[in-house]
């Protein structure tokens, strides 16, 4: 019998306990993986390479304050700017107020939007059809699938921010990177339907020459409009997305405290199991030592048993988490926040590693005591 086999046999000697421990640790680390995935998606994703080239120019106060469309040409004339497009959050209601019918709706300029968002993909004939139809719209593939829309379908959006009901025809179906998916239609629709906001738009997205140019460009745009009636705030697309998350509140502290609670709970479960399991085997340990196993070996045997069990729990949890995260991403209750979230391989490895470390820490005290125990006392021990 090899030592590995010995450890494996011991880990599974009380199958019920092993399974319960595995499940308990697994569920805790599942949660850890979900939290790490949210963290990663919120704070660590760099977005696409194309995204690094873009910056967003909005009113200094908030997105609810509009900017004059005249800024567009002023921005376009600045050095380092390739393309500029205006966007406005329409915020209309599709069918009803239910969360599953909520999606992002943008009014924009069909002529230039695809030149700014170089990572959008659409068949050229569909783009042309949309550019020709002032009451046309395009939707991303996921959205089209969710609502079963096909080209030529009619979509009515009841205006809530604007007193305009947009009656649109689907002219194209495109693919978009995470965060920019949704429905896009011609801004002229709002301009004509609600003259009060004619000439005003929500924000501009600017495509810069290079990622290096972005921060300098942001400064010079803000400088240009600093003393105007409507000062601007320009930032990279990534910084802009982060500011949305910051508005949710102290998300970082929320996630961190849950992660800490989860790791600590896992530690408790694992320590409890190992303490129970090692106590049961006091006599065996004494026997092992009589057979000539050193203290070091006994310690290593228990530790590897615990580490193996907890790491398996971590791996199981991480695998289950990828299913849970997929569910969260698809759930309408989560809104736009969790869209396109995925558990990555490194995150799964981290979860497994956390499991292993928890196994190591939790087994140390009982395993150390067992390895130090007196042989004669151990042999005399009654269960």
């Amino acid at each position: 019998m090899t030592l590995t086999r010995f450890v494996r046999k011991n880990a599974l000697r009380n199958k019920r306990r092993s399974i319960l421990t595995l499940l308990s640790i697994g569920f805790s680390l599942l949660l850890l993986t979900v939290m790490m995935t949210i963290w990663r998606a919120f704070y660590m994703s760099d977005g696409t390479a194309e995204s690094a080239n873009r910056l967003i120019v909005r009113h200094k106060v908030s997105m609810a304050n509009f900017l004059p469309i005249s800024y567009r040409e002023k921005i376009r004339s600045m050095p380092g700017v390739k393309h500029v497009v205006n966007l406005t959050w329409f915020g209309g209601q599709y069918k009803d107020n239910k969360p599953e019918n909520f999606f992002a709706e943008y009014a924009t300029d069909p002529q230039e939007v695809f030149q700014v968002f170089t990572d959008f993909e659409i068949p050229p004939d569909q783009l042309e059809a949309w550019q020709k139809d002032r009451a046309g719209c395009i939707v991303d593939t996921d959205l089209a699938k969710r609502h079963n829309w096909k080209i030529g379908d009619r979509i009515v959006l009841k205006g809530s921010i604007f007193p305009v009901n947009a009656e649109l025809t689907v002219r194209g179906i495109f693919t978009a990177p995470p965060g920019m998916s949704g429905l896009y239609f011609n801004n002229i629709y709002i301009d004509e339907g609600y003259p009060r906001v004619k000439g005003y738009v929500g924000w501009f997205t600017v495509l810069a020459d290079s990622p290096q140019a972005v921060s300098g460009l942001a400064k010079s745009i803000d400088e240009t409009f600093r003393n105007s009636d409507r000062p601007t705030k320009s930032e990279s697309e990534k910084a802009f997305n982060l500011s949305w998350i910051a508005m949710l509140g102290n998300v970082k502290a929320f996630i961190l405290s849950i992660c800490m609670a989860v790791v600590f709970a896992t530690l408790l479960v694992s320590a409890n199991t190992m303490a129970m399991s090692i106590r049961e085997r006091t006599r065996e340990v004494a026997l092992l030592k009589t057979l000539g196993f050193t203290r070091g070996t006994v310690l290593a045997l228990f530790m590897s048993e615990s580490i193996g069990l907890a790491a398996c729990g971590g791996l199981l949890g991480a695998l289950a988490a990828s299913v849970v995260v997929r569910g969260m991403a698809a759930s309408p209750q989560g809104g736009l926040l969790f869209q396109n979230m995925k558990v990555t391989l490194p995150t799964m490895l981290v979860a497994t590693l956390v499991g292993a470390v928890v196994g190591l820490v939790s087994a140390f005290v009982p395993a150390y005591n067992a390895s130090r125990g007196n042989i004669v006392d151990g042999l005399r021990h009654i269960g």
């Binding site: 979900v34 609810a64 809530s160 989860v262 408790l268």
Partner: protein, 387 residues
């Protein structure tokens, strides 16, 4: 006959290590659940206690938020003032307030960046329409002056919101002349200022919204319908209380993540409790057989072990509640999608929250204890005695 509870308590005390570790595990789960429930309770409280039952909010037809672009023309005001059921103030003037809302950016005191804050522009009648909002320091703004009054929480959470401070809104600096307390309602996230000053600043010829005070809740309900049905106005009325109640949806992301977190943690804790209880049963196999020989029936053994598991989980609940107590009343903020600014609220461990946490823990104990207890009750006496 039931096995005395003393037996379970002593057993828990005997296996201190396992008891403490399992209870702490449950406590952590309970703490997390209370934290999330308290956040939601605080948020719900803020919106549920907002709004006067007598007040009707009037917006442009189709609009769902006070912030949305443009709304009520100034010409509509005389029509609204003449509607039956409008309350009158001490001077006999109809209680109608044309209002506007804008959003400004303020830096937080704790250095966690800046955030959006709602500024409500109103008439002095608007203050009268909200009798529960009390001035705690300074005075109300004077019409025609660039003066603002901030809520107590804004005063606390943001730098430059002290009496005498200047805040840049629109085209100039406004001086803080007072601090008000709205007792945890949504107005706690607001700054109040004079509407006429705003109108001249921004050259606005319309109000974003109009508030009407009804003589009583029944009149308010009728007023709401009258405004909506009046063909001249093209406006829609809603009760102020309904308007705020709908904004509770602000808590949706917290609720969504919170439910997932609490459920997953609870399942994990259930398994942990089950593990401990199985160990307890295995450890006492001969003892249980002895109890059976003495004459305790299978159901009473089952009950006894379930009770032991419940005791364990209640201990966990107690520790969890105590752990969360210091956080009760802590103020925090989140983005309100209706006003595009920060909704300030505090963590509230209401009796309902604490009660739910206890029920939550009891459920964990029940699910964790049932299978092991069943196992204990089913064991054959002879086999167990021979163990």
């Amino acid at each position: 006959m039931a096995v005395p509870l003393q037996y379970n308590i002593r057993n828990l005390l005997l296996r201190k290590g396992a008891t403490v570790m399992t209870a702490l595990g449950i406590a952590l789960t309970v703490t997390t659940a209370i934290f999330i429930m308290a956040l939601l309770a605080g948020l719900r409280d803020a919106f549920a206690t907002s709004g006067e039952p007598n007040n009707v909010l009037v917006l442009r037809k189709g609009s769902t938020s006070e912030l949305t672009a443009g709304g009520v023309s100034r010409d509509a005001l005389p029509v609204i003032k003449d509607l039956p059921g409008v309350a009158r103030d001490a001077q006999g003037q109809p209680m109608v307030s044309g209002e506007d809302i804008t959003v400004i950016v303020l830096p937080r005191t704790d250095g966690t960046g800046e955030t959006n804050v709602t500024v409500r522009f109103m008439t002095p009648t608007g203050i009268e329409l909200r009798p529960r909002v009390k001035l705690t320091e300074g005075r109300w703004f004077t019409p025609g002056q660039r003066e603002i009054v901030v809520s107590k929480s804004i005063h606390k959470r943001f730098a430059q919101a002290n009496l005498g401070d200047q805040i840049w809104i629109g085209k100039g600096n406004w001086t803080v002349v007072g601090i008000f307390d709205s007792g945890g309602s949504a107005h706690d996230s607001e700054i109040w200022a004079d509407i006429n000053q705003l109108a001249s600043d921004y050259d606005r010829t319309y109000y974003n919204s109009v508030y009407i005070g009804g003589t009583d809740p029944v009149a308010a309900d009728a007023l709401k319908n009258r405004v909506t049905d009046d063909q001249r106005l093209e406006l829609s009325g809603m009760l102020e209380t309904d308007y705020f109640a709908e904004q509770t949806s602000t808590g949706r992301p917290i609720k969504f993540v919170g439910v997932i977190v609490a459920v997953i943690m609870a399942i994990g804790s259930c398994f942990a409790a089950m593990n401990t209880m199985y160990a307890a049963v295995a450890y006492r196999s001969r003892e249980i057989a002895t109890l059976r020989v003495i004459g305790f029936s299978r159901p009473s053994i089952l009950t006894s072990f379930v009770l032991e598991s419940l005791l364990l989980s209640l201990l966990g609940a107690l520790v969890g509640i105590v752990l969360m107590l210091p956080f009760n009343g802590m103020t925090t903020g989140t983005q309100n999608p209706v006003t595009w600014s920060e909704a300030v609220f505090s963590l509230r461990m209401t009796p309902f929250v604490v009660g739910s946490a206890v029920v939550f823990a009891v459920l964990m104990g029940l699910f964790g204890g049932l299978a092991p207890a069943w196992h204990a009750a089913r064991r054959e006496i002879l086999a167990s005695l021979r163990d």
